[in-house]
């Protein structure tokens, strides 16, 4: 698995619950090191071991942790670059939703080794109900996407309702209802990146 995913989970746990919790997770998961490197590859089993250990350690369901990870990835100031990349998807939340079809391809442009699930967005009849289907590994990524969708709604200032629905085997599905596109102000976004990027 691409270290970027392992490293993201590590930073989320460390930043949200503190270093002591992370140390506890490291020892419960029997990690042979204390930090993941974003640009190295790791055995697939490691991230599940970390997730299980964190779930035990914090007494929180894995699903909740994954969804919180998705929110963290978008809203934490340290991850501004990821938020920016997602905002490139469009000027409105609706456009952003439509750009999710391309998310896998866009990620591959930047990091060819990064394996993300294939994502497909299906629009409802009245134009405000959508279904996002995530197919393929890593397992639980749909939960992360739920957090991302929620945080991006705040970013655009849109009001949405998210609901898990039962999908086919091997798929994770989220029902998205866009109630209002410009409910709040949202966060500032300019195409021109920070100086030096």
């Amino acid at each position: 698995m691409h270290g970027l995913i392992n490293r993201s989970l590590e930073c989320f746990l460390r930043d949200t619950y503190g270093n002591a919790v992370w140390q506890d997770v490291v020892s419960r998961a029997n990690l042979p090191f204390e930090r993941f490197e974003a640009m190295l590859d790791y055995d697939d089993g490691l991230i599940y071991a970390v997730l299980l250990a964190a779930s035990d350690c914090l007494s929180k369901p894995r699903e909740t942790l994954l969804e919180d990870l998705g929110t963290y990835l978008v809203s934490n100031p340290d991850n501004e670059s990821l938020r920016r990349l997602l905002r490139f998807g469009g000027d409105t939340y609706m456009e952003f939703l439509h750009s999710l079809d391309d998310l896998n391809g866009r990620a591959k442009l930047a990091l060819p080794e990064l394996e993300l699930p294939r994502m497909a967005l299906y629009g409802g009849r009245d134009g405000n109900d959508f279904r996002l289907v995530c197919k393929g590994p890593p397992r639980g990524f749909g939960r992360v996407m739920r957090g991302v969708l929620r945080a991006m709604a705040d970013d655009y200032g849109a009001l949405v309702l998210l609901k898990d629905i039962d999908g086919e085997a091997g798929c994770e599905e989220i029902a998205i209802t866009l109630i209002q596109s410009s409910f709040a102000d949202g966060r500032d976004f300019r195409l021109a990146g920070p100086v030096g990027v």
Binding site: S81, L85, F88, E95, L109, L111, R190, G193
Partner: protein
């Protein structure tokens, strides 16, 4: 539909322009102005009329925006049906990154078919990935330096290094251990390096390492502490005669020619020996200094010999009382 277009009349007056083109001149109303006052056609050169532009039909034009920012544009021109002027479709090309900053452009300023936003996306994504990679490289570099600093081995010969020797010597002195210490300095090694090259020098050092390991016991320490300097520490061996025997054997074996690419490398060694009986209050530095003095006595005597340290050497007085041996004499 085409935010980067300009429609020119045949006399060069701008009739209409796209919303993004208008942003290049926020303080001026482009329709009605002379096109060539606002844009310089740089390539092909010397185009200053609409008919000149029409001659380049279908060719790529390079324009420079005359607004003080010198933004460059690419463009193609096509005649409008019925001789009603020219339509120019433009794009920022590689200047898109600066243009977005200079004119505060947004995603909707680009045509849906324009790849500009994808290009920006790629630039940012690759920059972020590159930054992570550079961080990793820096950390790995730091780890490598730290590992080397903490290492106890000499990578060329596999012997212990200076750091390891310091550790062992300090430990022996503090623990009051008895030991003999030999400083071995190669003779004529520089000549091998200079005449046969560094590869020959490296080979010789590896051969020397083998001899030194052969002539010592497992519990002894053999360290390379400099280019052609070695230190041997003999645990619980303070018998001068035995140490001299070993020194003589080492010199004899090092004088055997070492073949390199069909040529013999000829070296020898000078040795200075000292012992610590474990009772006297002596520091590690002093022991090394004593061995060094004995070594230089060997060098003074014409190299290829061994000398045992005695107090006389400290005063550099007469050397009559030295127990010494010479392989060449």
């Amino acid at each position: 539909m085409m935010p980067m277009h300009i429609w020119l009349s045949t006399d060069g007056i701008i009739r209409q322009c796209g919303a993004t083109v208008a942003k290049l001149f926020p303080d001026r109303e482009l329709p009605g102005l002379l096109f060539f006052d606002c844009f310089l056609v740089r390539r092909p050169c010397d185009v200053g009329t609409v008919s000149g532009i029409l001659d380049q039909q279908g060719e790529k034009l390079h324009l420079v925006v005359q607004n003080g920012r010198n933004t460059t544009l690419k463009a193609v021109a096509v005649p409008v049906d019925g001789g009603d002027g020219v339509l120019l479709d433009m794009s920022f090309g590689i200047s898109v990154v600066d243009a977005i900053r200079d004119y505060d452009l947004t995603i909707s300023d680009f045509a849906a078919t324009d790849l500009a936003v994808e290009m920006l996306y790629l630039i940012e994504a690759k920059s972020a990935a590159m930054a992570e990679s550079r961080k990793l490289n820096t950390r790995l570099q730091g780890a490598k330096v730290a590992a080397e600093e903490q290492a106890f081995s000499d990578t060329l010969t596999g012997l212990k290094n200076r750091r390891a020797m310091d550790h062992v010597l300090t430990h022996f002195v503090e623990a009051g251990e008895k030991f003999g210490l030999m400083q071995v300095d190669l003779d004529y090694f520089k000549r091998v390096n200079d005449t046969l090259g560094h590869a020959a020098g490296d080979l010789v050092l590896q051969a020397v390492a083998k001899v030194l390991l052969d002539e010592t016991r497992k519990e002894d320490l053999v360290a390379r502490i400099g280019g052609d300097e070695f230190v041997l520490i003999f645990h619980r061996m303070t018998d001068i005669d035995k140490l001299n025997e070993i020194a003589a054997r080492i010199i004899r074996r090092l004088e055997e020619p070492i073949p390199y690419c069909g040529k013999p490398c000829l070296i020898s060694a000078s040795i200075g020996t000292t012992v610590s009986d474990g009772c006297q209050k002596i520091t590690a530095d002093k022991i090394l200094m004593n061995a060094d003095l004995a070594l230089y006595a060997s060098k003074d005597k014409g190299r290829a010999c061994y000398t045992v340290f005695s107090e006389d050497l400290s005063s550099k007085g007469d050397e009559g009382d030295l127990r010494e041996g010479s392989m060449s004499g």
